[in-house]
Amino acid sequence: MRKEQTLTWWGRFVDHDVTYSFLHSPVTVIASIVTVLMIIAAFCAPVLTSYTPFVPGSLNLLDAFMPPAWEPGGVSEHFLGTDGQGRDILAAIMYGTQVSLTVGLLSVLLSIAIGIPLGIIAGYNGGWVDTAIMRIADIQLTIPPILIALMIDGVTRTSLSSEVHELVAIPVLIVSIGLASWPQYARITRSGAMVERRKDYIAAAQLIQTPTALILLRHIFPNVVGPTLIVATIGVAVAIIIEATLSFLGVGVPPTTPSLGTLIRIGNNFLFSGEWWITLFPAFTLVVLVLSVNLIGDWLRDTFNPKLR
């Protein structure tokens, strides 16, 4: 027999439907463990590895092009080998994942920060405000985000000198990916807000003359934010892919603070001469990271919205 009233928050957490569904989905459990490990490896990189792959003075060219430890010629100090400048690949991947994750998370936060307010305003007000906001969103949705991000990045590159651009490259990248992906969040929030605004509690709030801003913030927002955050999980995976692609194309983060995409770009030049590990390990890391985040996102979507398949 279970006593409801004596359950602590931990007990309730363990007993919850969502926890049950999580523990009974081995794929999701593995994906979460992999994701958490990658986050730890990325953000604790300075503690976990003694190599500083992006401090030019600490590199030794004599260490260049070492294969992974299990290949002939590999050494255990550089487990995944080294690149053309003697960088330890494993350490480079850890620091690179940090940049990729940072850009991915912050750009999704920016998209949400733009998309949710616009979606709430559009859905609550209806009328021409709604039409105007959603028309812009529709037009933007027909253009792939990667093209928009390329354009924004290209414009800032043109208007700033190259030294200044190098300094602001990562913020610019976050802004361009964030600006490129807000419409989908606006759409979801809007449809939620349209449902909520017809409910009685909103009518009651309007009746006692609650200021509109307060209704939107206190009443509509908490009720529509859930589905948006679930979509945002998959959004992080998409943002990481866009960042990696832009960096691979050479218009993303500069080689001085490389992300996974930059590492793949650098390594790609050595693929033909047989140094496959320089590009394939970062590529593998990127795929595993994106796949794990996608799997978590899929599970969240299925669990919290059974209507969606």
Binding site: P144, L249, G250, I264, L271, L291, R309
Partner: protein, 325 residues
């Protein structure tokens, strides 16, 4: 129906106008076009003369009008980096991109429809499960990584297929150069087109599958079965036809994004198309090429969307009768 088409054309015109406006501001106000065109030793006097000659001292509205007229005539100025007219550069490289996009679209449609039908009709077959799982992996693989992997396997390891360029090209009349008439051209297009098509294939496959699952549950399919029609007629004559609307919508949008994603594929495979021209323009801040590419891609998008809207009438009899009444 005429009203509907006119309405759509008007909307497309508005979109094109906005894109032209953005492209115009990009061209005129990002950086100084004059300092990009002249050398170091040009005097201030000469620069002012050039400014006057190019009409950069006129009012913004006059300049915008001229920009639109020029754009309608295909004149987008001179590339800063290559010092050649932009329209020439683009028309040289357009055939390569369009051929790549065409071959990829065919691959994506054929494989996507076939796979979607199979997984939709035989959802418990072991092959369906394999196809579905690999399609999830396909969504998580960024385009450029697919390209790198294909190059590593088929060009570096086995040396079967070339890893860059478009092979031998034949010049046709009208300035169109095609790689589809030579063996080396076909060999060269295999890897890039598969790379470009993979993501689209998984997308079309998943949509057809879920639409098929939905249609197969409807009453008219059950009725068709009760009438004793052959399964083939039911599956392809009735069910598939009713999945076409979402497929056309997505396929249309996807052809648009194929053009955009060709930027990545062209960079990986050093394919001499518009996409690699554009990415070089972004890297070197070559604004005329960037703005021309923007206008051109927007134009493709608008035209494709228009065609998709018209195709709805062809496949959906309900729309036709609605308009008649």
């Amino acid at each position: 129906m005429v009203n509907f088409i006119l309405n759509r054309i008007l909307q497309s015109a508005i979109v094109m106008f906005v894109v032209a406006l953005i492209s115009f501001f990009l061209f005129n106000f990002v950086g100084d076009p004059i300092s990009n065109m002249v050398g170091q030793e040009t005097t201030v006097h000469d620069m002012n003369a050039l400014r006057e000659r190019l009409g950069l001292n006129d009012s913004v509205i006059v300049q915008f009008g001229r920009f639109i007229l020029d754009a309608l005539n295909g004149n987008f100025g001179i590339s800063y980096r290559l010092q050649r007219p932009v329209d020439e550069l683009i028309s040289e490289r357009m055939p390569a991109t369009l051929e790549l996009v065409f071959v990829s679209a065919v691959i994506a449609m054929v494989l996507g429809v076939a796979g979607g039908l199979f997984t939709g009709l035989k959802r418990d077959h072991w092959l369906s499960k394999i196809i579905l799982t690999s399609s999830l992996v396909g969504v998580s693989l960024p385009t450029f990584i697919i390209g790198i992997l294909l190059i590593y396997i088929f060009a570096v390891k086995f040396n079967w297929l070339p890893s860059f360029g478009r092979g031998e090209v034949v010049d046709l009349k009208g300035g169109w150069s095609t790689g589809l008439l030579t063996v080396s051209g076909w060999k060269a297009i295999i890897l890039p087109s598969i790379t470009l098509a993979l993501y689209q294939t998984t997308l079309i496959l998943r949509i057809i599958r879920s639409e098929m699952l939905e249609v197969m549950r409807t009453d008219f399919i059950k009725f068709a079965r009760a009438r004793g029609l052959k399964s083939r007629d039911i599956n392809y004559g009735h069910a598939l036809k009713n999945t076409l609307i979402p497929v056309i919508t997505v396929a249309g949008l996807q052809i648009g994004s194929l053009i955009a994603f060709s930027i990545i594929t062209e960079t990986v495979f050093q394919w001499p198309g518009m996409g690699s021209l554009f990415i070089q323009a972004v890297q070197f801040a070559d604004v005329p090429v960037m703005s021309a590419y923007l206008v051109l891609v927007a134009f493709f998008f608008v035209i494709i969307n228009l065609i998709v809207d018209l195709l709805y009438f062809v496949v959906d009899p309900r729309l036709r009768s609605e308009i008649k009444n």
